[in-house]
Symmetry: C2
Subunit: 326 residues, 2 copies
């Protein structure tokens, strides 16, 4: 079994589509395909379609596939289940033994799953800016806020596999916004593309300050970013506010696990300096002296189109390494 | 080398005194002594006196001592240094290579150090209520708020050895109290015996609600507890408020590391139900549905007089085990 020609399959399962890639040990995505979600609520149907797509990709590639890694919302590394994932119709209201089902459908190939943010952290540690780091925190800023925490070189799973739900830590204790999870004041309700839209909308409604966003038919985080780029004062303050909350909570997280770095990834992270500067400032303001100015705040270096596949594949490579050690 | 008669020395270094115990593998403190602090600012003098006390205790015990474990404020497991510990005059304004110095003074005996809250966590895991747990968080409630975090069976040290400074996470984001560390709004400024005294004092000064605490010549957390015991409404609300903040932050910590339990230890934890009930309620209110009612909130089961020595000795036993495995 020569490792140079051997590969793993990395799969990123999302609400709209699932991305599948064949990845070598150097982190090159050699072949890729995308499977559009068909809205089916039957896990068997979904897994069957996914397995067929994987088999076709592998057959066409001529590669030997050693294992499969999957990143998916609400996926549990310990149990191999995907449970109560609102964006996946086939797992919205039940717990699906996904790793087992996909492995069966792929003739017994080893399948490892974890949640999408953990997969992103694994990808960053294996192929990205966190290479060589043993302690860092990955924050994925998209529609929501996800997190993957690496301590002492391993993903932190906790007692039940659900560690790293930093998007649902409390950012605003009094009269906080209602979050999708049913709680109030969650970090994700402020620091995410949805959160940015809510902040901008609230502020536009609360006053009559001029802003080009008033001419926007539908406010998106991208629209707020573009307004900020053109110097719109309200849009810039939206990012100041968002970054300030993010930075204060990042400081909390540093007090917990003393990471070498925090890595930001995802759509909202592209707001770059408008988010970064206030986040960096607030984080350091809230850090103990021993950490001020010392904890790196980085952006992911992985190509965005491949990051999720790379993360999932890193999970599979990591599992293979662990198995070989034993 | 028969393990049954072999022991370790556990040392708890505090501002007022240092406790030294000879502890067997079952967690029995067989011999103990206390060394009063003499206010010396010379680390050599302090270490010399400590080593002499250890030698005398060991000589009188007839036991074979395999290693030494030390819990101390601002002690770093990685470096073996005690640095900038305000309550230790010999380490207040410098970094002292304590583990190395004590080992030298004890003829090369292996010395392992960690901060006092980490030692408490290690003691709880080895001999206390957290026995058998791989993921839990220890919160020590005394003058300040300390924490030791155990993930996957090991103490969490982070990239620099300083992980687990939960007392300095942000509890109040706007106009928070000034903390001893120089930051504002730290958890420790609210949830600690000092914090309880500040809350009671602020509330007494802010209004004229009747309370037996008004007759108190000097308000202490013990006085607030005793007033609560006798039904004093203001004193009870002080604990409601304190427990509420504690519970909200505990929920944050659960979202980070998904522990099986949180263990409370120390003077303020003795306020028992007055602190426990509001903390339990607030924690569960702020937890995601997957954790509601599931994360245990426990009190330490170690005898208070010996807990620190046991924690330090557990550190030494653990190090011995790791060395034997290698």
């Amino acid at each position: 079994m020569e490792r140079k020609v051997s590969c793993v399959v990395g799969i990123d399962i999302g609400g709209q589509s699932s991305k599948i890639g064949i990845v070598d040990a150097a982190g090159r995505v050699l072949h890729r395909t995308v499977l559009q979600a068909d809205g089916s609520t039957d896990p068997q149907v979904f897994v069957g379609g996914l397995a067929a797509a994987v088999k076709a990709l592998v057959a066409g590639s001529g590669r030997q596939v050693l294992a499969v890694g999957v990143g998916a919302p609400n996926a549990n590394y310990y149990t191999g289940h995907i449970a109560h994932a609102p964006n996946l119709p086939w797992a919205a209201d039940r717990s699906v033994p996904f790793a087992w089902m996909l492995s069966e459908a792929l003739g017994g190939l080893d399948v490892t799953i974890t949640n999408d943010a953990n997969a992103a952290a694994m990808g960053e540690m294996t192929f990205g800016v966190a290479r060589g780091m043993k302690d860092f925190i990955m924050i994925t800023l998209g529609t929501g806020l996800g997190s993957g925490i690496v301590v002492n070189g391993s993903l932190l799973y906790g007692s039940d596999g659900f560690a790293g739900e930093l998007g649902h830590t409390c950012a605003v204790a009094e009269n906080g916004r209602l979050c999708g999870c049913g709680k109030r004041g969650c970090l994700e309700a402020y620091v995410s593309s949805k959160g940015v839209v809510r902040t901008a909308t609230e502020w536009l409604e609360a006053g009559d300050e001029p802003s080009e966003l008033r001419n926007c038919p539908r406010i998106t985080s991208k629209a707020v970013f573009e307004a900020a780029e053109r110097g719109d004062a309200l849009a810039r303050r939206v990012f100041d506010y968002t970054g300030g909350i993010l930075g204060r909570k990042l400081a909390d997280f540093v007090h917990f696990s003393a990471p070498e770095a925090i890595v930001l990834f995802g759509g909202l992270a592209r707001a770059g300096k408008y988010l970064y500067e206030p986040a960096w400032q607030a984080m350091n303001e809230h850090l103990l002296a021993i950490w001020k100015g010392k904890v790196k705040l980085l952006f992911s270096s992985l190509p965005e189109s491949d990051a999720a596949i790379l993360g999932a594949s890193a999970l599979a490579w990591n599992k293979l390494e662990q198995t070989q050690k034993q």
